[in-house]
Every structure is written in structure tokens, then in C-alpha cells.
Symmetry: C2
Amino acid sequence: MKARSSDKHLSKPSDMNTALKIAEDSDGLFSDDDGILPSLKVSLADKVADYLREAIFRGKIAPGEQLREVPLSKVMGISRGPIRDAMNRLEREGLVTIPRNGRTIVARLTQEDFDEVYSLRLGLERVAMQYTIRNATPADLGEMQQIVNVMVEAVNRGISEKDAADLDLHFHDVLYQASCHKRLQSVWADLRPQIYIFLLSRNVADSDFRIQMTRHQEIVDVIRARDEAQALQVIETHLQVAYNRISKTYK
Amino acid sequence: MKARSSDKHLSKPSDMNTALKIAEDSDGLFSDDDGILPSLKVSLADKVADYLREAIFRGKIAPGEQLREVPLSKVMGISRGPIRDAMNRLEREGLVTIPRNGRTIVARLTQEDFDEVYSLRLGLERVAMQYTIRNATPADLGEMQQIVNVMVEAVNRGISEKDAADLDLHFHDVLYQASCHKRLQSVWADLRPQIYIFLLSRNVADSDFRIQMTRHQEIVDVIRARDEAQALQVIETHLQVAYNRISKTYK
DNA sequence: AATACTAAAATTGTTAACAATTGACAGTTG
DNA sequence: CAACTGTCAATTGTTAACAATTTTAGTATT
């Protein structure tokens, strides 16, 4: 019986035991005392969510895999409570789905998901631009410009898909920060991980991402000019180009 | 010592014991078996969240009050776990804030919050309109028209502020439903309770809400016509008028 | 009166155990 | 073979208790 169970277990690579994979990484990640200031202590749930999120980004945990509380709590050496909280956090970010049966499944992001993510993103970033134009400080603008400079230099030197995605989203992080609109920031925080996944997987398939990197200068310029009508145009174009670029990789 | 504590306790009406207020309502709300199909069984956390959300809407629990797990679990007759989950749910909806110290405080919604909610709402509903125009079925349109008919009739007969708010949001619920855009629906579900609170409190202060009710017919018509450019214009105007109307009540 | 310190109470974070639900599997029936 | 049923293991939901953190109250000092 155990042999049969094992055979079935190995018949689907996507069913490889998630907890075993995580056990490879779990060298005291969760049980150590961080030695940081108590008021900045990071909760176990946050640590677990951060770990799982990264594991999903790296492909260590694949779409369709189920995240089970009990095995995870064993390999992480913590109780199930914080794991539950972490999984609720990941659900909010769209990285997992928790259907009616309560099981937590890593999300498969389809082309339809992509369409939703980018249409929602456009709706958000239009509002963000309106607020950023109003609220961006010279420091914000300086930070955005710095990121663009790093982008341009990196593209010239040769840049990996991951670094491109990191810089791209970091730029938009600062844009949202500059908007001083807490709710926008919150929705962005929830949407960002899905966008990252799309960028990571789709940049591999599309060599034009480097061209897209350099377009961020337009955004900085139009914010600096505080020109709202132009700003909306620029962000729409920016995201539409990104949308089209990634969309092509689904064909 | 106990007498002094009691004196201090009564010195701030907003500090009246939240759990005592909830005890008035908690006649088996949470511990009863619903007798519904098992597959449709509502979790305790959902029940608690629903109850607390309504209590906040009714003003039974006031902005600034702290929701404490232990007293709540005692009066509700359940453990703290589901209460924690419920409070996390309410945080997501912006009804409570959970600062760094972990305490859960019912949110005070300021004019700035109002500004954020409505700007975000506009960004979302533009996207929703684009999708609804594409995806609305005759049944969706029929449902929206039915709600508008009820609105018009109710305004003519005389309608309470609460009923107006209920109908208003129900109309937009259907709009989002018709969009077939899951992420939009999810963000709307999180934003909706805050909008409801603004409508409830501000409708009292502004007698023009009845005029606003009747403007929903325009939305139905433009969706029916599948005219996207016009649709964006209509929803912007609709929300701008609503924004202006409520904004005035802050002066 | 204002500030600082300390201890205790209050509150939240986490854990382990029990309860309830879901899924997998074997056997039976048509 | 497909569909159904029953059993049991797996998994999640909830609870009570312990651990850690934050707040409050009381006292001493300036």
C-alpha cells in the first residue's frame, strides 16, 4: 500500500511533496530570534508569507500545488496558525486560491488573469498619476530618476529578466509612494506580486523588454512637468505597450 | 480601586465597553448550528465579520473603539481564532485599522479618506464600465433596469437614506457582476463597505441624494448602447456629481 | 505638576490538541 | 465499465492554554 501510494505520488511531478521542497530551505528561517528591535519584530505570519511568495516567484512551488498546513508547520518548526495567516495574505495577493473546501492552491495565472491584472493596473495607475503629479516631492522625482538611470545603464551592460522586472516594479513602487494615496498603495501591494510573476515569466519569452525599460524616462518627465492630461496619455501608452508586448507571448 | 476604574471608564462615552454592547445582540448568533447544507456552511469568521460590519454600519460600534479579542470571544461564546480572522477581513475592507501594536481600532473615516475612496472608485468603475459594456447580458441589463425602476418609484414615494444607499450600491454590485472581471469584483468588495458608510452618514446631511438616485438610468442606457466613450463620460460624471454632493457636507 | 520607573494587568501572538469536513480508495451494484 | 456507498486518512476549523508584547496604574523623584 505504501509502495502504491509512492508510485502514484511520483506520477505527477507537480504533486512532488511541497513540504520536502521547502524543507531544503528551512534552516531556521522561522524559529530564530531576529535580534532586531522588538518594535520592529516581524511576525511569523509575515515571514512565512515572504518565504512562500519568494518560493512561488522562483518556481520552487509550482502553480497547482497545494500548500498544506500540517506538513508546512512540521518543516518550518512552527504552529499552523501563522501559516494560515500567511496563506490568507497570499490569497489576497492572488498568488494562491482558497476554494470552498479550504485547501490552498497556488494560482495558475492564465492569459485571462493577465488581461484582468493589466486592465486593473491601468485603472489604478491613471489615478496614481493624477495624485503623483500633485504630490511628488523633489526627492520622489530624484528617486525615480535614479532608478531610470540604473535601468538605462543596466540595459546597456546587459540585464537579466529578473533584474529588469525588479527595477520596473521598483520604479512603480516609488510612483505609488509619491502619490500619497494609501488605498492606491494598498491595492498596488496586492496586485504587484501577480504583475511580477507575469514579468518574470514573460520577459523570458520576449526580448523587447529592454526597450520597455527605457520608456520610464517619459514618466519621470511628465510628472516633473506636472501635466496631468499628458501624464494620463503617457501612462496609458506605457502600460498598453507593456500589455501588448506580454500579450504576444501568449500566441 | 474598582470604583475609580469604573469612574474613568464612564468618563469617555466612546470607551463604553464594546463587548457589553455586542452582548445585547449576541443571542446565539455565533454558536448555533445553522441547519443549512454542509457545503454552504458559513464559517464562524464570516459570521463574526458580518456581524461586526453591520454593527459598525449601524453605529453600534463607533469609530475609534477598540475591538478586543478576549471580551468578544466571551460574549460571542467562541474562541479567539475566528475573531482574529474576522478582524483581518474587516481590516482589508478598511473598516478597522490594525496598527503595529496589533490592536484593532474601528476606523475614523475622514474627508481625506473620502477623497481616496472616491478617486479609487472612479479608477475602478471606469474599468468596470469598459468590461460591462463588453460583457453585460440581457439579464444583467434587466436587473440593473429593475433596480433603477425601484429607485425611481421609491424616490417618488419617499425613501430613507439607508434604503437609498442600499439601492445605490446594489446597482453598482450588479454593474461589477456584469463586468465578469474577478479582480475588479474583489477590489470592489473591499471598497464597498467604506462607500456605504459615507453614503449612510452623508445622505443624512444632504437632501439631494434623491436626485442622484435617478441618474442611474443614464448608466443603464449607455451600457445598453455599448458605447464605450460615452460610457466613460457617463460614469465619470455620475461619480463626480456624487463626489461633489458628499464633499459639500464636509464644509 | 510633570517625568520616570516598575509591576501588574490587559491584550495579542503562537502552540498543541480536539472537532469537523473533505478527499481518496476499496468494494459493491447495475 | 460507470456509478454509488462506506470507511478511513488527510486536511482544515476551532478551542483552550501558554508565551510575548503592550498598556495601565501606582509610586517616587524633580
